[in-house]
Subunit: 254 residues, 2 copies
Amino acid sequence: MKEASKAQIKLLRKLSQRKYRENEQLFIVEGERAVEQVLENGVIEVESIFVKENKTDSYKQTADCFILSKSIFHELSDTETPQGVIAVCKMPDPVTLEELQKLNSGVIVATDAIQDPGNLGTIIRTASWFGSEALLHGKGTVDVFNPKVVRSTAGATGVLPFISGDLDYLLGELETSGWNVLLLDGNPGAATITSIPKKEKTVLVVGNEANGVSASLITPKRRRTLIPSVRNSKVVESLNAAVALSIALWSVNN
Amino acid sequence: MKEASKAQIKLLRKLSQRKYRENEQLFIVEGERAVEQVLENGVIEVESIFVKENKTDSYKQTADCFILSKSIFHELSDTETPQGVIAVCKMPDPVTLEELQKLNSGVIVATDAIQDPGNLGTIIRTASWFGSEALLHGKGTVDVFNPKVVRSTAGATGVLPFISGDLDYLLGELETSGWNVLLLDGNPGAATITSIPKKEKTVLVVGNEANGVSASLITPKRRRTLIPSVRNSKVVESLNAAVALSIALWSVNN
């Protein structure tokens, strides 16, 4: 196994920043289990693997595997207790709006300004588990290829087609081709999720953790829905955003 | 507003450790929103509040409020970007097993070795939202009064009665008084959650993030249940533990 070159280390450093990830169309997966999942899945193309000098045994058989010194590894790692393996992966291509407009049924999940990487990763993981058709990531949403998001998806990164862009535009276009937009919104006037009739083509929108769905997305045509609390609504303000989305996804699927 | 004393600072330092939290029966809530929620809820008794020297304006009216220097505050803070307020709160008393045995209906949530503080906090938040009767925290579960857990509950800490202890014992005792134990377990042979008949008295057990429910808790009497995936089970290994529990709670409630 070869030592990583200076150019490779420089690239790894750059990939901690979104703009370089987008320029290079590459992203990082860190951690033994996460890298294993990506290799098993075969959904994401792995370009190269970097291991900490004392961890080389586990990856002997893997092609394009390079060694990093302990100090460099710890500098590059995004975790508090680095497990000693990083994979550089190719970003999958986004799907086009036209492809989604052609679909005859299914659920699409849209994230409007989800800011916590763990929440976004969990949303992607749950949406993949429930076989959603696609993910739409609105402009204020944390980057889906942020290393913390990737770790939280537990191997689901790249499983679903996705578009990152302006939700005002994307939702409007999907509506013109018969998609129904359902906004998760705990404010007064929203209908209980169980009272919402199930539709063939539903886009489920989850809003920002603190502020909910953006005002610009709330139109008279779009149903607002909530997951009602039992008893403790006075002392528990809300559900976690990823949990609310997960229950809503379960509810529209069952 | 007074400066915090040396004894107070010493106490704050100690409260980062579980054993001192248990000795003192005190815990820390950090962050503006979190402290606000605790003050609004009135569920938890706040003993004193500590603010960073440049943040004193917001807490002028609050009794028992003390000032910490910036450097001390940053040393004590559990967050990467401290918001400048910490509350020292009294731990609520655990409920007794006898009190739970007397209940005639409801759902109890049991956590068996949940290790991620964010997951445990989310589970407590969701269980509170859905009006569960109590929480049982098995021995391998992260401390419920860990500052990260407290932050993730979003104000739900202390809302539900709880017992921390040995789940083998607790579940066995509850069964003798007519509670039905339902294990969340994605392994083969588990029944789909929608196929499980709803019972009056259900204990829902969620297992460790990586290993699931402990082998010792799986008995012939206890039903095992899972949340089935749609399409992507080959590439997505599982749901997040807090999400699985949340969907199961929703399902047994609806």
